[in-house]
């Protein structure tokens, strides 16, 4: 699995450079709230994260975390 991760990590910069240069005035679509990772109502997804944090052993990868819980 680590081999696959290494390949992915090496390919990522190549992929990221293969994109068009978008000017600021062309970003109307990108500026929409539905294009944000949290969506137009981030509060709606907060409780989902509570459930996953409490019911699954996998954590991380969703942004910088904090706090904790007694739900190990």
């Amino acid at each position: 699995m680590s081999k696959h991760l290494l390949i992915l990590a090496l390919c990522a910069p190549v992929f990221l450079t293969a994109c068009s240069h978008v000017q600021p005035w062309e970003k109307a679509t990108l500026a929409k709230s539905t294009m944000k990772p949290g969506g137009p109502v981030p509060e709606l997804g907060v409780f989902d994260q509570h459930v996953y944090y409490s019911k699954e052993a996998i954590q991380g990868g969703t942004g910088v975390g904090g706090g904790g819980c007694g739900c190990n």
Binding site: V41, E43, S54
Partner: protein, 367 residues
């Protein structure tokens, strides 16, 4: 189900959203969660505010609260025996949790963002505190690529009560680092690649669960759930967001996870936003996941579901091998430019028998 601090997701969203629109808002959400087999029920809510101070400063703060009732799987003694046990349920005392967070974001002349967030929550048997720092650094004047870096430090205390398996308070600390690149691919698409690593030290056992240990003479007895006092974890995540038309966009997110307890996992989440009518938006979500079991986990139903007299051991299903599925539907009514109301229903299943449903709803007032 005792729960993590609300801020975990909120801070993450702020880190991962370099294309953000400034606005002030007040949001309120309620939630109602129920598991199958009369297990856990949760009722709760949250209030969040966001206020801009000029164009360079943004303050976010909020409180959340919930009440948990129900029961959880546990070993119980067989009738007539003192050293024979079977899977049963342990009733949980009704428990309330209160939490709060505050976050300050600052933008410099290049519009790079720096934020600091602190959180605090408490319940009768647990106190959680954290401090997080994150930054979004633009690599070019057109803001087509950003480097996102975030670090958090959490300090928690499991409080000893009459019901816990420990007689004195136990602490744990977590340091977490996540770095990522967010790239604008074209006028309709962004891609994000992140790597994360976390290290948790201190007490990490379930303070209520017990396991069955068998000594060299074959005698069985109950003992406390026992886990290593260090856990190193990490992985990568990918997120692609694409607008297909003026009223339809999708988001796909994948995460790979691995830790030194022997757990590996994959998570894939897809969501869509469809403005299907004036003022109405539909948001279906499908999330699939899988994880392998921790090295020291044994299921209640395993042929060998007990542990030797020493060593780590847990029957906590969260550390087991299972697949998950979430099917969710949210609907948002954009009542006006200032007001929007939302309602969502989710169905969550694990192939080990656990299932849960929850409803969330609330409003957002933007001004």
């Amino acid at each position: 189900m005792r729960k993590p601090n609300l801020i975990i997701a909120t801070v993450g969203i702020s880190l991962l959203a370099p294309i953000a629109q400034a606005e002030n808002s007040i949001a309120w959400q309620f939630n109602q969660y129920s598991e199958n087999d009369d297990r856990i029920d949760v009722r709760g809510g949250a209030i969040a505010i966001k206020k801009d101070f000029g164009t360079d400063y943004e303050l976010s703060a909020g409180i959340d609260y919930d009440t948990v009732t129900g029961a959880t799987p546990s070993w119980v003694a067989l009738d007539g025996y003192t050293d024979q046990y079977t899977k049963g349920k342990a009733e949980l005392a009704t428990e309330s949790r209160d939490g709060a967070y505050a976050s300050l974001l600052f933008r410099d002349k290049k519009r790079n963002e720096y934020s600091i967030t602190t959180t605090y929550s408490e319940e009768p048997d647990y106190v959680a505190r954290s401090l997080a720092l994150s930054t979004v650094l633009w690599s070019d004047a057109s803001h087509n690529r950003s480097y996102n870096i975030g670090f958090s430090h959490a300090f928690n205390t499991a409080l000893a009560t009459e019901a816990t398996t420990h007689s004195k308070d136990e602490d744990d600390t977590t340091n977490y680092l996540e770095v990522g690149i967010n790239q604008v691919i074209n006028k309709n698409m962004t891609l994000e690649v992140s790597a994360y690593v976390g290290n948790k030290e201190g007490y990490q056992s379930n303070q209520y669960l017990r396991i069955v240990r068998v000594d060299s003479s074959g005698n069985r007895s109950l003992a406390a759930d026992s886990r290593p006092d260090e856990r190193l974890s990490g992985g990568i995540s990918l997120r692609a967001i694409n607008s297909w038309s003026n009223n339809f966009s999708t988001q796909a997110w994948y995460r790979y996870y691995q830790d030194d307890w022997g757990i590996t996992g994959h998570t894939l989440e897809t969501r869509a936003y469809w403005d299907f009518a004036p003022q109405w938006r539909l948001n279906p979500v499908l999330r699939l996941g899988s994880q392998s079991a921790a090295d020291f986990y044994r299921d209640y139903s395993d042929d060998v579901n007990y542990f030797s007299a020493t060593g780590f051991g847990s029957n906590d299903a969260r550390l087991g091998d299972y697949k998950t599925r979430t099917v969710q539907m949210n609907v948002e009514w954009l009542a006006s430019q200032e007001w929007s109301l939302n309602l969502g229903f989710s169905r969550y299943t694990q192939d080990n028998g656990l299932s849960a449903s929850w409803i969330t709803g609330g409003f957002v007032f933007r001004y």
